[in-house]
């Protein structure tokens, strides 16, 4: 088999979609062709990242809650009138609707021209206007408070104080960002000054605003879960990263902002929890040592996928919580299920190394990263393996994290 033929079969090879005969021919070619080996590694990486991206994106959306109600009306009515016909009937019902519609069309046209900078300069960036909602693909949703805390560099209670600046994504674009001054009242995790800058997509009065994560307003109090960006600018972790505090009670976005935030239906739904209880719970979770494997986006991941003969590299972060200084040591073992009930030998063909596997921590509240390398030899049977990484933290006890490793044959 030559390179051109093999090249056209690489994705099918990775997907296990070749006949045994063709698979053998591709394997034979790969064992002698370095260029095609590199190509298949790159394709496998793209496949993996694509799976992650599709899953994360899909996790971030759910159908609208009223979907059935609308559908029921349509199916109950039998044949639907066409949109144009339905609209015409609606207009004819009341003559004033025609006038209002014309005015609206004029307003929309003017709005478009305004948006294209054809008309006059922008209004005051801090002024309140009617936002135009846009969708957002959050990098990840969070299953529970533990996962959310692990992904946050800083968790703090505070108040939205003022707008620091409004910037535009591109000179002629319609996407704006607002940097807010967030005045800290209490730090639950991380180290920050008494005021931090929080970067948010959208700008009041200028159009773009993320519907699921609407703009803050001055004077609002929140517990924010923040990711640290360049130049000490912070990003809240999407709608999951903001919890509004009103009169000593805590509300998640779906409760506080009356927006259809469907993704809170099953998780991280807080509706008037006492502020002190919420803070105590978050603090307890945030102060506990924790291991986190990270994907390319530096967000938590527990499932890895590779193929026979493949290699995985990742980082594992150790959050010290409120403990330290002390010594940390890792040990790796295979377990027979994802609950880690029984240790079983790791196949000889799988090497799982962590570097460094021992280190000494300094003050509490720090994160230490180690590099993880998983190598699966060509003669290892495919299948699903569960691997537990156990840590022993001097003075703070022990813990573990279990990952799922899928080896595709």
């Amino acid at each position: 088999m030559n390179c051109a033929t093999a090249d056209g079969l690489l994705a099918a090879y990775l997907d296990g979609e070749l006949t045994p005969e063709t698979k053998g021919q591709v394997q034979a070619h790969l064992s002698t062709c370095e260029r095609c080996q590199k190509e298949i590694e790159a394709l496998a990486a793209t496949q993996y990242e694509l799976r992650q991206a599709l899953k994360s994106t899909a996790d971030s959306v759910s159908p609208p809650s009223q979907a059935w109600d609308e559908l029921e009306q349509l199916v109950a009515g039998g044949q639907r009138p066409s949109f144009t016909r339905a609209w015409a009937l609606w207009l004819m019902e009341r003559p004033w609707r025609i006038i209002v519609t014309i005015l609206l069309i004029i307003a929309i046209v003017l709005g478009i021209l305004w948006g294209l900078d054809v008309l006059s300069a922008r209004s005051n960036p801090t002024g309140q206007g009617q936002p135009v909602s846009s969708g957002a693909s959050w990098a990840k949703s969070f299953e529970d408070m533990t996962e959310l805390c692990a992904a946050s560099d800083v968790i703090a209670l505070g108040m939205v104080d003022r707008v620091i600046r409004v910037t535009r994504a591109q000179p002629s674009g319609h996407l704006y960002f607002t940097d807010w001054a967030f005045r800290i009242e209490k730090v639950l995790k991380g180290r920050v000054t008494e005021e931090v800058t929080v970067h948010q997509t959208g700008a009041a009065g200028l159009g773009s605003e993320i519907a699921e994560d609407p703009l803050f307003r001055r004077g609002e109090r929140y517990v924010l879960f923040l990711k640290r960006g360049a130049q000490e600018i912070f990003y809240n972790l999407g709608p999951w990263g903001r919890y509004k505090v009103v009169d000593g009670r805590v509300y998640s976005v779906n409760r506080a902002l009356e927006y259809r935030t469907w993704y809170f239906e099953e998780k991280l739904d807080f509706n008037g929890v006492a502020q002190d209880d919420f803070i105590a719970d978050v603090t307890e979770v945030a102060e506990s040592p924790r291991l986190t494997f990270m994907d390319r986006t530096r967000l938590p991941v527990d499932v890895f996928r590779t193929w026979i003969g493949g290699t995985i590299t990742s980082d594992v972060a150790f959050w010290t919580g409120k403990y330290g200084p002390g010594k940390v040591s890792y040990t790796v073992k295979r377990v027979d299920n994802k609950n880690g009930d029984n240790p079983v030998p790791l196949p000889e063909g799988i090497r799982f190394t962590i570097t460094p596997a021992k280190f000494t921590t300094a003050d509490p509240g720090l994160t230490y990263e180690s590099r993880v390398l998983i190598w699966v030899s060509p003669d290892t049977p495919g299948g699903t393996y569960w691997v537990s990484v156990d840590y022993e933290f001097e003075g703070a006890g022990s813990g573990h994290r279990i990952i799922t490793l899928h080896v595709d044959s």
Partner: protein
């Protein structure tokens, strides 16, 4: 014949509840906009209701049938609007390990570039990737769902993955799994 096929509304509602997330998520991934995904969800189940007599479980699974209607509806619709670009200003890409701030931003940029690269694909190429790498359908199932030959599925997946990788800048390094 299933109860919903004989026109029982409660059974149809149960069917809707069971599959609305699957259809909506697929529609969102294939079209890239929430607005389109909501329309597709509605159109798919209207089609299911109207064509309920034609579905034959012996010829294929209900899920495959739903995939087929979803793909057809997504391909039929014209792209209304591209999603807004994700925020990238002020981010400083870096290539050094263990320099957390820069690395966080660089990794986020890579992830966002992948989503944008995906968005740059036309819908028939995007659909094939969604069916394979989100739904884990076999090539034969994809061929059935998209009504295209098996060989076309094979070549389209290979071609689209390469295209995607090319748009990502041809990164061959496997890291950060």
């Amino acid at each position: 014949m299933e109860t919903w096929q004989s026109g029982n509304k409660s059974a149809f509602q149960a069917l809707f509840r069971q599959y609305e997330r699957l259809v909506f998520k697929n529609a969102y991934l294939m079209t890239g906009t929430r607005e389109d995904a909501e329309d597709v969800l509605q159109e798919v189940f209207i089609s299911v209701w109207r064509s309920r007599h034609t579905f034959d479980p012996e010829k294929g699974s209900l899920v495959t049938w739903l995939h087929r209607i979803t793909v057809n509806e997504c391909l039929r619709r014209r792209r209304k609007k591209k999603p807004d670009p994700l925020p990238l200003d002020g981010l400083d890409p870096a290539d050094t390990r263990h320099t957390s701030q820069e690395e966080i931003m660089a990794s986020q940029q890579e992830y966002e570039r992948l989503l944008r690269a995906l968005d740059s694909l036309d819908r028939k190429h995007r659909a094939v990737l969604v069916l394979r790498y989100f739904n884990d359908l076999s090539y034969a199932e994809i061929a059935q769902a998209m009504d295209i030959p098996l060989g076309t599925v094979k070549s389209r997946i290979n071609q689209t993955l390469k295209l995607l990788r090319g748009r990502l800048g041809g990164e061959a390094t496997r890291r950060g799994l």
